[in-house]
Symmetry: C2
Subunit: 249 residues, 2 copies
C-alpha cells in the first residue's frame, strides 16, 4: 500500500551482521539474485539494511564482481527502536495460508510466532526455515526494525506449562462463551498473546485445560465462523486498535 518515502531506495533488506558506517557486507545469494535479476540493480543503487539491533542504514550496492554482490554501509537512516508486540500461538494451517498468516501477523506487529500442536491439528510438521524466511520478508516489506522470533513447533501443553507469569494469553473460544475481544484486550495490558485453535476447534479437554490457567482469558471474535487464520489476523488488528498504534493519534 505504501511506497518508501525515499524513492531512490530500491529495496529494504535484513542482514545478519552488525551495522556501522563504512562497513562492507556480502549479500546472501538470494539477496544477490533479487537485486540483480528482479530489481535489476546497478552498482551504486541504494538499499536500506537493518539487522534488528542497530537501526536502519543506507547502503550502496556493489555488483562489480560477477559472482558476488556486496553493500557498502553509508549512514544511519533510523535509530533502533523497541518493537514490543503481542505473541501469536496458532495451530498451523496448510502452506499457502500459513505463509499468508505469517506475512499478515508480521505486518500487524507480532513479536513472537509460536506454532502449536493441538489434538485436532492436521498439519504434522512445518518448515522452520520457511517460517523464518517469511517473517524476514514481511519485516523487510512493512518497514519494521525487528524480525519476530519464530519458535519451533511445540505441543500446546508444553507451551502453556512454561508460560511467563505476566503475559495474558487470550484464546479464541469458538463455543461463544468468551468475552468480547476489544474490552478484554484493553484490560489485559501490553503483554499479550493470542492462541488460535485449529480449523476443527479445540477439544473439550483442551478448553478445560486452558480455562484452568490463571493467565488465560477466553475471547469471542463475533458471530460469524472465522477460519483460524482470519481469527488470528482479526485479533492482532483489534489488539493494535485497542492498545497500540492504530488507535493512538
Amino acid at each position: 500500500m505504501q511506497g518508501d518515502n525515499d524513492s531512490s531506495v530500491i529495496a529494504r533488506l535484513f542482514v545478519d551482521t552488525s551495522l556501522k558506517a563504512q562497513q562492507a557486507l556480502k549479500a546472501s545469494s538470494s539477496q544477490a539474485h533479487y537485486l540483480r535479476h528482479v530489481l535489476r540493480a546497478q552498482t551504486g543503487s541504494l538499499v536500506a539494511v537493518f539487522n534488528g539491533m542497530d537501526g536502519e542504514w543506507l547502503a550502496r550496492v556493489n555488483l562489480r564482481h560477477r559472482s558476488n554482490c556486496s553493500f557498502m554501509v553509508e549512514q544511519q537512516r533510523r535509530p533502533q527502536a523497541e518493537e514490543h508486540g503481542p505473541w501469536l500461538l496458532f495451530a498451523p494451517v496448510k502452506q499457502l495460508r500459513l505463509d499468508y498468516l505469517i506475512q499478515k501477523s508480521v505486518e500487524l506487529g507480532v513479536e513472537l510466532i509460536q506454532p502449536v500442536r493441538t489434538r485436532r491439528t492436521v498439519v504434522r510438521k512445518i518448515n522452520p526455515d520457511r517460517l523464518h524466511a517469511n517473517a524476514i520478508e514481511a519485516a523487510e516489506q512493512c518497514g519494521r526494525l525487528t524480525v519476530p522470533k519464530t519458535c519451533n513447533y511445540a505441543d500446546i501443553s508444553d507451551v502453556v506449562e512454561g508460560w511467563p507469569v505476566n503475559r495474558m494469553l487470550f484464546w479464541g473460544d469458538e463455543t461463544g462463551q468468551g468475552t468480547p475481544a476489544l474490552p478484554a484486550f484493553r484490560e489485559g495490558g501490553r503483554d499479550a498473546a493470542f492462541l488460535i485453535g485449529p480449523e476443527g476447534g479445540f477439544e473439550n479437554s483442551e478448553r478445560t485445560f486452558l480455562r484452568e490457567q490463571h493467565f488465560t482469558r477466553a475471547i469471542d471474535l463475533g458471530s460469524r465462523v472465522l477460519r483460524s487464520d482470519t481469527a488470528a489476523i482479526a485479533a492482532l488488528a483489534l489488539w493494535q486498535g485497542a492498545l497500540n498504534d492504530i488507535a493512538v493519534a
Copy 2:
C-alpha cells in the same frame, strides 16, 4: 476454527431458488461434485441450505439418479436475518491474494464488494464470476445468511460520484495524515465503507479528490506499512470491534 453445532450436517450450501418445506431442489454441478466426490455424501445425508432471503433450512441429499443430485428441503433451521455490514472498495491485487481478501472480508461481515480502478492499479481486469463464487463459498463456510453483493470493476471516480449521501467512506491514507481508525469508525456510525488503495498508493490528485468529498474521511492504520489486503482486513476487523459484534457482549 469452528465446527457446525449440528454435527450431522455435512455441508452448508447456497442455492439460488426460494426455499420452503417439502421442496425438491436440483444441485448445481459443482455442488453435486463436491457432495459426491469430496464429502462422499450418501442419499439421506443432511445439508443446510440458504438463499439470502428465506433463512437456513435442513435438506436431505438424494443421489439415487446417477447423473443428478437433488435436495429435499425439510425444516427451517434459522430464520432470515438482516446482515448489514460495511462496504469494501479496493484496488484489486493479484489472483491468489484477491481470493484470500474476498474470503476474509466475507468472514468479517462485508455487505458489498466493489473493486475499483485507481491510477496506480496494476490489475487490468478481474473475473466477476470468480469474485462472486468466492463470496458464496466464504458465506457458506462462515455461517452467514446472505452473500455480499459483488460489483463490477469500476473507476474510483465513477464510484465516488454516485455515492449514497449517508454512508461514510473511510480511506486508508498512507501518508500518515489520517485520523486513528477505531475512534473514526465509532463516530462514523453503522453505514460505513472502506476504500483501500493499490500497492503503489494513491496519487496526490486522487488524495485531493477524496479529501474534497464531504462523505469521506482519511484514516490511519498504524505505523507499519500494510499491504493493501492486510489494510482491508484490519479495517474490517476494527470496524466490527468498534461498532458491531466483536465488541458487543
